[in-house]
């Protein structure tokens, strides 16, 4: 299978790379663009670890081919904040101890970032419902829900 050139925007930058038609977007981001913050936990669409934001929507990058991402705008965990300048959601995760091993974290941060953009004031149940598409084996989810609600409040307060 001959590789094709895939052009897209990732974290605000124009990027391109080579992808066989069957190359998963997750593998393309990780191994072709070297954005290894996106993780792969199941490769069958259940765990959510590979979630990235594609044109504003949280998508599982293990269920998309890289060639399908041609021309899209993608945000990965690397685009959410930096160690010196964490996003309000990342900061809330830190304060609430909402991560242990950190393997699920990227997918949860992207999922919740997309949620808070669409729904800035979700109820706890709504957060749980959306979060239920991501598996975390370490935390028991409770601190994650707390962190998301806390971040939502901070983001709203900053806007007000």
């Amino acid at each position: 299978m001959t590789p094709r050139t895939v052009k897209l925007r990732v974290n605000g930058e124009a990027r391109e790379g080579q992808a066989e038609p069957r190359l998963l977007l997750a593998d393309f981001l990780r191994h072709e663009l070297h954005l290894t913050g996106t993780h792969v936990g199941c490769e069958h669409g259940v765990c959510g670890a590979c979630t990235v934001i594609v044109d504003g929507r949280a998508m599982r990058s293990c269920l998309m081919f890289a060639v399908q991402a041609e021309g899209t705008e993608i945000t990965t965990v690397e685009g959410l904040g930096t160690p010196e300048n964490l996003s309000p959601l990342q900061d809330a995760f830190h304060r609430h101890h909402a991560l242990q091993c950190g393997f699920c974290t990227a997918g949860i941060l992207t999922t919740m970032t997309a949620l808070l953009k669409e729904e800035p004031d979700p109820t706890p149940d709504r957060v749980r419902e959306v979060l239920s598409g991501n598996l975390c084996r370490c935390t028991g989810y409770i601190p994650i829900v707390d962190a998301v609600l806390d971040a939502a409040e901070k983001i709203r307060a900053a806007k007000a």
Binding site: H44, L86, L135, G140
Partner: protein, 774 residues
């Protein structure tokens, strides 16, 4: 909600809810997990696994695979036969187990679905996986053994040479069980089953190996848990000295007992890298993980209790049946041995007997998963105690209160219930205090008054479960402290591995207090064999007890090492100097010197090595309370609230301990309600994806309350720490079994089996109704 630490000394780092050092990199995609490791010229491996539960390997033909462009090599048994060694048993060597080790590739037989048959190495993972389909394997199927009945009346033998499928069998006893049962007012005997389930970390296993021909040195990335023993195993298998092999621990996406043991791939990938002279990476996929990473639990028990009519427990007798799968892996008989040892739990039971049957089956080999053996036994015992309480007309809290070992009885001897260990004990503890605290936190009296209450078709039930477990001991752990020249900070190297628990933070807290220096200046390096000559690793909740104590000891050595240097620099005799808040001061006060100045003034590196060893285990204990509602029309179960109170001796970081407790509870609840590594009667595996193997999600268990206490310091280590991290998991199956049974009391239905699923509950209700002629 931040956990409220109790009884803290605010002057120190130990005991403070310090936010974790490791978070920033994990939150921004900056972690380095195994699959993030890339080496120049790296090849990729995939493994052909048996799709048969049991069969004779008649032939393997890889010619088509080898012809595929991009395929570099295919290795099968014939390629490793001349150097192949079995995977050694590291722990719990019960008599007989060593007859059934696994080799890294199947030779003449396959014995479980998922057993490695061949290794493909190719230019990309995609090509390697394509090639798997091109290898033809001729297997002549044999009947599969899937349960004890099949194993003990063998129509088929897994390992023909040994003439049996029973890997080991033994009896242990303390007191006089026969006499106790003879004099008892009350006896009851029931059969319980704890299903096969396991750790399932979110990151799958991984091995990346690189052979440096010039240096004759092997480097392997992806190690964790016990890197030092695994290095020794790999070195031996490759015919190298230990020092010619290094295992590197990068960030690890969860372990829970199963990850980091020595697996076939831990030999196969380095073997291929050495043969080919190129780095080779293998990343397990999720199906492979569910198939071939160690399973756990899978214990059945016929348990009998003998009581006085006032509820005093006189004796327990357990017949345990433990399915170890097709081979005996690194952790040997830990699961059966610990299941047997913890049958009596935290109660004063003078007479305890266990008959343990450990059998082989055509299933994935079993290892240890968080609270190994304990989770199972807690379920069996706590269920039977509730049944006894009900029969005797005693409140479930009262029967426990009457039988819990008292603080005044500590240390409490628990006899010799483990064949390969000396007599055991519970070192310290106030079991009753933790128990009463749990009743208070959960408002037990109010909940108990609602047992069986029908609220619009939902039946309320609340269950109690008490536990104790011992851990935090074993081979010595080592540490090294180095004063950094550039800024006088400390580099802390530790043999303990980290699997996502927050060790970089916790060890820094301990070190900061030991030296009286700021937490920020301490950098922690852990788990890789390159850092230290020896060390061990992390299992059985030992990291803080052993590693933390090693840090304390090493800090003392460092101060002693630095003293003459400081004396020289300041021009005072050693005796005139005192170490205070990270500086040497003269007793009179006048002059002082800190770490940075000392490092700058000294030509050589300032460092100290130290270690800690202890064979005395620490006892962590506590109580779980579960409040459920069961829909009597559908069998659906809602967890309303869940409480855990545990004593962990000394809390280094309450934030992390609380996180471990809550996360541990949810894992335990996964085992209680959802998770099942199911097989059919032919040994075919039925749980090969996350759609089949259900784990807890965010909507399942929203209301969990954990309290960690510092009631009793451990005498065995200078920190006074006890194992933490398993207490949330260990009694979850037990508490849920009791809560659901309490809800179903009006039907007289009792939970005997985990997981407690809606369909099982529905059947229990239907059967009870049918029996009552309703």
């Amino acid at each position: 909600m931040q956990p409220k630490p109790e009884g803290l000394d605010p002057k120190t780092f130990i005991g403070q809810p310090i936010l974790r050092n490791e978070d920033a990199r994990f939150l921004t995609g900056g972690g380095t997990y195994s699959d993030d490791v890339t080496r120049p010229g790296m090849l990729h491996a995939a493994i052909l696994r048996s799709s048969h539960a049991h069969g004779l390997v008649r032939g393997i033909d890889a010619s088509e695979a080898l012809a595929l462009p991009g395929v570099v090599a295919v290795y099968a048994w014939a390629d490793i036969a001349d150097i192949a060694q079995p995977i050694p048993i590291r722990l719990a060597p019960l008599v007989g187990l060593d007859r059934f080790p696994q080799y890294c590739l199947a030779s003449d037989k396959v014995r479980f679905v998922g057993e490695p048959i061949a290794l493909v190495v190719a230019e990309s993972r995609y090509i390697a996986e394509d090639a798997l389909n091109l290898i033809s394997v001729d297997i002549e199927e044999l009947p599969a053994i899937v349960d004890f009945a099949g194993a003990s009346a063998p129509k088929s033998l897994l390992h023909d040479a040994h003439g049996t499928n029973i890997a080991s069998a033994y009896e242990v006893q303390r007191g006089d069980v026969k006499a106790a049962f003879a004099e008892a007012d009350y006896r009851r005997r029931e059969t319980f089953v704890c299903q096969r389930h396991t750790g399932v970390p979110m990151e799958t296993r991984a091995v990346i190996a690189e052979w440096d021909v010039a240096a004759q040195h092997m480097t392997v990335w992806g190690a964790t848990k016990v890197p030092f023993p695994n290095r020794a195993t790999l070195a031996k298998m490759l015919g190298l000295e230990d020092k010619s092999v290094d295992l590197i621990e990068v960030d690890v996406g969860g372990g829970f007992g199963i990850r980091g043991e020595f697996y076939p791939e831990d030999f196969l990938i380095p073997f291929a890298a050495k043969k080919l002279g190129r780095p080779v990476k293998w990343i397990e996929d999720r199906r492979e993980h569910l198939l071939s990473a160690q399973h756990s639990r899978d214990v059945s028990c016929i348990l009998e209790i003998a009581c006085k009519s006032d509820g005093t427990i006189l004796g327990l007798y357990a017949e345990l049946f433990v399915d170890l799968g097709a081979y005996v892996r690194t952790v040997g008989g830990v699961v059966p041995a610990k299941a047997a040892q913890f049958v009596p739990g935290p109660y004063r039971i003078a007479n305890v007997g266990c008959s343990v049957q450990i059998f082989l089956s055509n299933k994935t080999p079993v290892g240890t998963y968080r609270a190994p053996g304990r989770y199972e036994s807690n379920f069996f015992r706590e269920r039977l105690i509730d049944m006894a309480a009900h029969d005797l007309g005693i409140d479930p809290a009262e029967i426990r209160r009457r039988n819990l070992v008292l603080g005044s009885e500590m240390p409490y001897g628990i006899g010799k219930l483990v064949p390969y260990e000396p007599e055991g004990e519970y070192d310290t503890g106030d079991f009753v205090a933790a128990f009463e605290r749990a009743l208070q936190d959960s408002d037990w009296n109010a909940l108990n008054a609602r047992q069986g209450e029908d609220e619009d078709g939902w039946l309320h039930g609340t269950g109690l479960a008490c536990f104790v477990e011992t851990g935090g001991a074993g081979p010595k752990e080592t540490a090294r402290l180095v004063v950094r020249k550039e800024d006088g900070g400390i580099n802390l190297f530790i043999g303990s591995s980290a699997l996502g628990q927050g060790h970089e933070t916790v060890f820094a807290q301990i070190c900061a207090d030991a030296l009286g220096i700021p937490f920020k200046g301490i950098r922690v390096f852990h788990g890789s064999t390159t850092y230290l000559d020896e060390g061990y690793g992390t299992y059985a909740s030992r990291a803080i007890v052993m590693g933390g104590s090693a840090v304390l000891n090493t800090a003392e050595t460092l101060i002693e090492t630095m003293k003459p240097l400081a004396a020289e620099a300041l021009g005072f005799p050693n005796e005139a100097l005192v170490w205070k808040a990270g500086r040497f001061e003269t007793e009179s006060g006048g002059s002082s010197i800190g770490l940075a100045e000392l490092a700058a003034a000294t030509a050589q590196e300032i460092r100290a090595d130290g270690s800690f060893s202890s064979t005395r285990r620490t006892a962590s204990y506590g109580t779980h309370v579960a409040h459920v509602a069961v829909d009597r029309r559908t069998g659906k179960i809602r967890l309303i609230d869940y409480y855990v109170v545990e004593d962990v001796g000394r809390i280094i970081n309450p934030l992390i301990v609380h996180g471990q407790a809550v996360g541990g509870v949810v894992q335990g609840l996964g085992g209680a309600f959802l998770e099942n590594l199911a097989y059919d009667e032919n040994g075919q595996f039925l749980a090969g994806s996350f759609a089949d193997y259900l784990m807890p999600t965010a909507t399942d268990f929203p209301s969990i309350h954990c309290t960690s206490l510092e009631l009793s310091r451990a005498p065995s280590n200078p920190l006074g720490a006890k194992g933490a991290g398993e207490g949330g998991t260990t009694a979850a199956g037990a508490a849920i079994g009791n809560a659901v049974s309490a809800a179903l009391r009006k039907y007289g239905a009792e939970v005997h089996e985990l997981p407690v699923t809606p369909s099982k509950v529905w059947s229990l209700i239907a059967q009870a109704k049918a029996a009552a002629g309703q």
